[in-house]
Symmetry: C2
Subunit: 355 residues, 2 copies
């Protein structure tokens, strides 16, 4: 197998490492930044540093385009132009609208691995980055079956879980579960800044605020392109949000306790269903423990659960606004682990409840 | 000092324990639930279980009303009616609109300790619950100075940090940093449920979604009352949110990259400023480490930092959607701890970056 990688940063570099390490493929790489390309070669992410996109594509059977979303459309077009008639071309962009023009080419299959957004650069590339990761693919009726099968098999070789999804649905899902949360985080910090500028009191932000605004103002270099590339789906989500806010505003203005309670209970049901579906291993249970805010307490809890084999799938330590004490929220899978977690934490004489 | 506590659950019980333990006060308690009152007596949260509100108030110099927000107005009125002319009466409600009627009584001082919302019941009451905690007080020009001073001194005796704030500003701040985040969390899960119901794909919710929806559908018994009691301030925040969403919608519809970038950069600035202000000990630094999702990794990191005396003020472990790997976000105070944290985590051969 001969693989071409166009753009050899964190994702492209990890693709090269995974292809070489796990599937024995030969990998040609190219990057617009010569220093990045040299680092990828030195790191072993590519066998050969190509002189151009066309050079990288010589003999390639599968080509990955790992360019930033803003440059993705052009990079995919250039790669398709250079690719042989029987070469599968895919991308790793987080929205599929960005590569809309390519969707009519039978050689192109949109892709989106759910991995590795937190660090960047080929220095952080890892052969196991995609191990167990969902890798969305967006084939169309025009997609060549033999090329889809080849790409699918290669991704399984990386340890990933290729999952076919309609491109429009993919973008809608990403708008709802990723892009809209980022928009609302930005709105929340702007609202809070407004409330605080008007007064003289020192604000005390609670854990709900910190959780909700953790992604506010994420790197504009990446996010401006993501917002714009998925703007149709995101606008639809914003419109839905505007409607829902008007509804709850009406219930508040009318002091309608029944409507507020029903709305809030429905949110609870939705949340439990979504989190149960979105994470592997069954419904997630939440434990909340009250702890003094000092070094070591988190470790104590995590160690006790770790020793007993209870995996913490999600955790949030929220200090009180003044930092004097805190609450550790722990999420574990299923009733069994929840019960054991409760017992283990209670045995440390730390107050804990099931949320 | 003679203290009366009306409502002896988690907060009222902790007030009783703090008053008895830290200030040597005698505490009379009453609760509408006879079982709760008996438990408070047994737990040592009160010296005497009173037969009525009036009985609890006999001889009291400071009275705390720790009733749920929905019953707070009535409970405060009943307490003021029974209280002596020189008795300070305060509450612990999370919105001050609920006790608006009482604000004209010179004996009444609105209060709101930022502590203990995660567990409930007198069984979880602690004498140190308020240790270091901000305790908002909302005096008015009519408030009797001698009573305010007496309450302030008592709260300092609890180990709390009493902080005077205008009642309206208090409610506006709470609407912005607590109630609005809860509303938006509810809206987000409803939007996501809508997107997913329309399609067939299994959704993969990322860390931004989980963080943003952690408080979705919080206990309606408590939250319906909170929403309604602070509805004027919350409606104002919702209106601000509607306006901001319309603005970003316009920028998206016009594909205005400059406007999107400026809006996103402003959010970053707001977020850093708010979090720097809202937490003690200077600006918070965020570290992000990529880890395999198995028991023990969190403990390893937390232990390494704990041993070195680097306090983790906030932490979030977010698994990838399929649970195969994860990212630990850690927040520490100041440059010094951030640098040491980076070195300590890197020494564990875990990829880590400063966010």
């Amino acid at each position: 197998m001969h693989v071409a990688v166009v753009g050899v940063g964190l994702i492209g570099g990890s693709i090269g490492l995974a292809a070489r390490t796990h599937t024995g493929a030969r990998v040609s790489g190219w990057d617009p930044d010569a220093g990045v390309l040299a680092a990828a070669l030195q790191r072993g992410a590519v066998d050969r540093a190509a002189a151009s996109v066309a050079d990288a594509l010589v003999g390639a059977e599968v080509a990955f385009v790992a360019a930033p979303v803003g440059r993705l459309g052009a990079a995919v077009a250039e790669t398709l132009a250079a690719a042989a008639a029987d070469c599968a071309v895919t991308d790793v962009g987080s929205t599929k609208r960005a590569v809309l023009d390519a969707q009519s080419d039978p050689r192109f299959i949109g892709g989106h691995p759910l991995a590795g957004a937190e660090t960047s650069g080929v220095a952080n590339a890892r052969a196991d980055l995609f191990d167990g990761a969902t890798w969305y693919l967006t084939p169309t009726p025009r997609t060549a079956g033999v090329l889809y099968e080849r790409l699918h098999r290669l991704l399984v070789g990386f340890g990933a879980r290729p999952t076919a999804v309609d491109a429009e649905l993919h973008d809608r899902l990403m708008a709802a579960v990723s892009h809209l949360p980022h928009v609302l985080a930005n709105v929340l910090v702007a609202q809070a800044a407004g409330a605080i500028a008007a007064g003289e009191a020192v604000p005390a932000t609670g854990p709900s605020f910190r959780d909700a605004t953790r992604v506010a103002g994420s790197n504009s270099t990446i996010w401006t392109d993501i917002y714009l590339s998925n703007r149709d789906a995101l606008i639809a989500e914003i419109d839905g949000t505007l409607g829902r806010l008007q509804t709850v505003r009406g219930a508040l203005a009318g002091a309608d306790a029944t409507a507020i309670t029903e709305w809030n209970d429905a949110a609870r049901t939705h949340r439990d269903a979504l989190l149960g579906t979105g994470l592997a291993g069954g419904a997630v249970q939440e434990l909340r423990a009250s702890v003094p805010n000092r070094p070591g307490v988190v470790a104590e809890i995590a160690l006790a659960l770790g020793r007993a084999g209870v995996n913490i799938v999600d955790m949030s330590l929220s200090p009180s606004p003044d930092g004097s004490q805190g609450v550790v929220a722990l999420w574990v899978h299923g009733d069994e682990d929840a019960k054991r977690g409760l017992d283990l934490i209670a045995a440390l004489e730390i107050p804990v409840v099931r949320a």
